[in-house]
């Protein structure tokens, strides 16, 4: 109960803080949405009229207050550039980003766990060296380049996959997966590499700093069983932490991949809205992501309790 109250308080503080900061930052950025809406060649009179219409000349505080009070009522306002309600835009785009994030993370986790186990098990030996080198390469290969390369090979040269776009589930599983494969693949290696390195280093620490793995071996357990049944679970805390963190990051930040593959996701919308100074859209998405972050954090906390029995006592 105390925990829930604490979480709720955290949610309020984070969302409030984040939206205030983004509001102020947006205000401080040079240029405003009228240039976007009216075009570079718009006259100052037209801009002034639009500013007045959009209420951009009202004091910052009252604008924020107005936004906040209607946000409380679930109304995030209309996009300044697109005219659509921001909640509607988020609703349309969230599934894309969410699916991209969830699929990417799941695939990365599935790739990271066995590789980290092998690397830690054979620490400093060739298996570890090969995998760690792969991880370095994964981290060094930016998703954008990976994406371009994938497009070149699988769309342009081989013609197997569509270069861009997003087929929703309604167009059938195969069509859907065909548009999902390359975006996921371009993110996969970076994410998997990050996860693999975090997990590997904690597995190694468990193996060298703790005695229980040795105790398990002293009982006659195989190395494989020691890694999987003993060490892995104890290394999951930092692991789920980083996965949770990356989840949050992907929710707002798969921008580059969304941009490249022209996926109608939240990240692309957020960035283009920032460029266009579309304050309501930016505010709405930022608030949404802040809430998502807090919720993911809570989820990670819950997972902690599930993974490590000690957490309950301290929590």
């Amino acid at each position: 109960m105390r925990y829930l109250v604490l979480r709720a308080a955290q949610l309020v503080v984070v969302v409030f803080g984040v939206t205030v900061v983004s509001f102020v930052l947006l205000h401080l950025l040079p240029g405003d949405v009228t240039t976007t809406v009216l075009g570079e060649g718009a006259s100052p009179e037209a801009k002034a009229a639009l500013r007045a219409e959009l209420g951009l000349d009202d004091p910052l505080l009252s604008r924020y207050w107005e936004w906040l009070t209607s946000a409380m009522r679930g109304d995030l306002g209309d996009s300044l550039t697109m005219g659509y309600p921001v909640t509607e835009l988020i609703r349309l785009r969230l599934p894309v980003t969410l699916e991209l994030a969830v699929v990417t993370l799941s695939a990365s986790v599935l790739l990271a766990i066995p590789t980290a186990l092998v690397a830690a098990r054979f620490r400093n030996r060739w298996q570890d060296k090969v995998l760690s080198m792969g991880a370095y390469a994964g981290i060094a290969a930016p998703p954008f380049l990976a994406g371009i390369l994938l497009i070149y090979v699988f769309s342009v040269k081989l013609g197997w996959l569509p270069a861009t776009g997003w087929n929703p589930w309604s167009e059938g599983l195969v069509a859907h997966v065909r548009t999902l494969v390359m975006p996921v693949a371009s993110l996969l290696f970076v994410e998997a590499a990050i996860f693999m390195r975090v997990l590997r280093s904690d597995l190694v620490a468990q193996l060298s700093d703790e005695e229980y793995p040795l105790v398990a071996r002293a009982k006659g357990a195989t190395m494989r069983s020691v890694m999987i049944r003993h060490v892995l679970r104890n290394s999951l805390l930092p692991f789920v932490t980083i996965v949770g963190l990356q989840f949050g990051v992907l929710l707002g930040g798969a921008v580059i991949v969304e941009h490249l593959f022209a996926l109608p996701g939240l990240g692309e919308l957020l960035v283009s809205s920032i460029y266009q100074r579309d304050a309501t859209t930016v505010q709405g998405i930022v608030m949404f992501i802040a809430i998502a972050f807090v919720l993911i954090n809570a989820l990670v906390d819950l997972l902690y309790r599930f993974i490590d029995p000690r957490v309950k006592q301290h929590g």
């Binding site: 240029g31 060649g41 718009a42 550039t81 697109m82 497009i151 109608p264 283009s272």
Partner: protein, 515 residues
């Protein structure tokens, strides 16, 4: 050639000696006509570089023009060659004093929702453009309009505050003359952009905002047998490389703003056709004439003589954009000077060095929007070669625009769109205090010529006036011209019927696919 059959229905009548639309004008593109014949049916996907709005009132980009024009037919169309063709209006007549336009509507046309396209609808749409509470982004082109009157069911009279010839192409021929169904306006109000209803060749089906727009054939379109296509989709693909890859892999049929590298690669690709007319406007190096060092004409001449536009074009655009410019008008602009003005400063390194010596050295800060970094680097390298002491300063795009328009910089690469209506290329830029005057240039004589050009109804007289403006500007050298501001498109070779568009939009009314 612009194979638009609309104008065969009725000639456009404009009083005075304004050009009559003539069949067969315009830049030729016959060599790129697909092998198959135009046929009914089929689908087409257009990949845009930026997101769009369908509302003609808010359309400022070539994406929006494409979307808006497909849904909303305009009263008339200003063609790239300077001619004006009829659209929803059967004829437009301008009074001899240039103070009154009479628009006669085509009979029997309807909007997608069945509402007739009558004089009342036109009045409502044009008044909406000028609504002081929510003015259109094109409101400036309607600034000379005083009132719009319904004369009869098919006739609208537009009364001007002052004679304005530019209004024909920019106002009546512009995107904002896309007429909106008054029934829909009544129903949806300011949500019309989400529920667009016009009288254009395609009607709205569905939109995923900022991502995808789906349109389908409007069966009661007033032009017989048009449009050809059953369905048109606009797809937002912001990345240039991904856009081109989507085209070559067949995922989309048309792409906006193909980048120079892809243009080069398309040369060897039989399945891709590049449509690359020169833009109406230009890229230049804007110089701040109001403060040192560029308040001295010798300093401006020095940097312009030091600027090898061809080499820069090669470095930045692989040489694909036009550099045959010496005025505010793009290379093929119908109102551009026939030949290079006498006083024009072209590339001449020796002259540049001489001028720098004469000035006792030249110290310049070049402000560059961070996205134009390579352009800035190319310019700086050349200026340095002429002995100019140049320092680069990178700023964000919006900051660059603000610094330029408030004259807080020394030199800055800049560009503007331009229009087939020549007034658009000069009035905002070379008149004292004009909001796009990034040089601070102020010559009352040129200001007078610009005013004259806007009021002159005689077309050949107008050409002379704009040539005169070009001469004056060449003498004063307020800025250095670089290359045209192009927005080339590309489509797959089975696509036909899309005219070359210097402003980068895709006109879909006659588009077809062969199979």
């Amino acid at each position: 050639m612009l194979r638009n059959p609309k104008h065969r229905l009725a000639p456009l009548v404009v009083a005075g000696s304004l050009a009559l639309a003539a069949c067969g004008g315009g830049a030729g593109s016959a060599d790129r006509t697909p092998t198959g014949k135009a046929q009914q049916g089929g689908e087409l996907t257009v990949a845009t570089e930026i997101a769009w709005t369908t509302d003609p009132n808010d359309a400022t980009t070539f994406s929006s023009w494409t979307a808006s024009q497909a849904i909303y037919d305009r009263l008339v169309y200003a063609q790239p060659d300077g001619t004006v063709e009829p659209g929803l209006a059967e004829s437009v007549e301008m009074s001899d004093d240039g103070r009154r336009y009479t628009v006669k509507m085509r009979p029997g046309t309807t909007f997608h929702d069945g509402t007739p396209v009558d004089a009342e609808a036109v009045k409502i749409s044009l008044d909406r453009v000028r609504d002081p509470k929510a003015p259109s982004t094109s409101a400036a082109y309607f600034a000379s309009v005083d009132t719009v009157e319904v004369v009869d069911g098919r006739t609208v009279q537009i009364n001007m505050k002052s004679p304005d010839v530019a209004f024909l192409r920019l106002g009546l021929g512009g995107v904002a003359s896309g007429i909106v169904s008054p029934t829909a306006l009544e129903k949806y109000g300011d949500k019309i952009d989400q529920n667009p209803v016009g009288a254009g060749p395609f009607k709205f089906v569905r939109e995923n905002p900022g991502d995808e727009l789906e349109l389908e054939r409007f069966d009661d379109y007033y032009v017989p047998e048009r449009p050809y296509l059953d369905k048109v989709t606009l797809k937002f693909i912001p990345d240039a490389q991904a856009r081109y890859a989507s085209l070559t892999s067949g995922a989309v049929d048309v792409i906006h703003n193909i980048d120079p590298k892809s243009i080069k690669s398309a040369e060897g690709n039989d399945s891709v056709v590049v449509s690359h007319p020169s833009g109406f406007g230009n890229n230049m190096i804007s110089l701040n004439n109001t403060r040192a060092p560029f308040d001295d004409v010798r300093a401006r001449e020095a940097v312009c003589a030091a600027t090898d536009a061809d080499a820069i074009n090669q470095a930045v655009n692989l040489g694909v954009y036009g550099t045959d410019i010496s005025s505010p008008f793009g290379p093929d602009h119908p109102f551009g000077p026939a030949e290079t003005p006498a006083g024009y400063v072209s590339y001449d390194l020796d002259r540049a060095k001489e001028l720098v010596d004469e000035l006792g050295g030249l110290d310049v800060t070049l402000t560059v929007a961070s996205i134009s970094k390579s352009l800035g680097d190319a310019i700086m390298a050349q200026w340095k070669a002429a002995g100019i002491d140049v320092t680069g300063e990178a700023v964000e795009t919006t900051t660059a625009i603000e610094r330029a328009t408030s004259l807080e910089y020394e030199a800055m690469p800049y560009r503007y769109q331009g229009d087939v209506e020549p007034d658009r290329n000069v009035a905002n830029t070379f008149v004292e205090g004009a909001f796009l005057n990034t040089t601070g240039y102020a010559d009352p004589e040129v200001g007078g010529l610009i005013r004259e050009g806007r009021q002159e109804t005689d077309e050949s007289r107008r050409k002379e006036i704009y040539a005169g403006i070009s001469d004056k500007l060449a003498e004063a050298t307020p800025m250095c011209w670089l290359f045209s501001n192009d927005l080339p498109q590309a489509w797959r070779s089975h696509v036909g019927g899309i005219p070359d568009a210097p402003d980068g939009r895709t006109v879909l009314s006659d588009a077809y696919v062969t199979e």
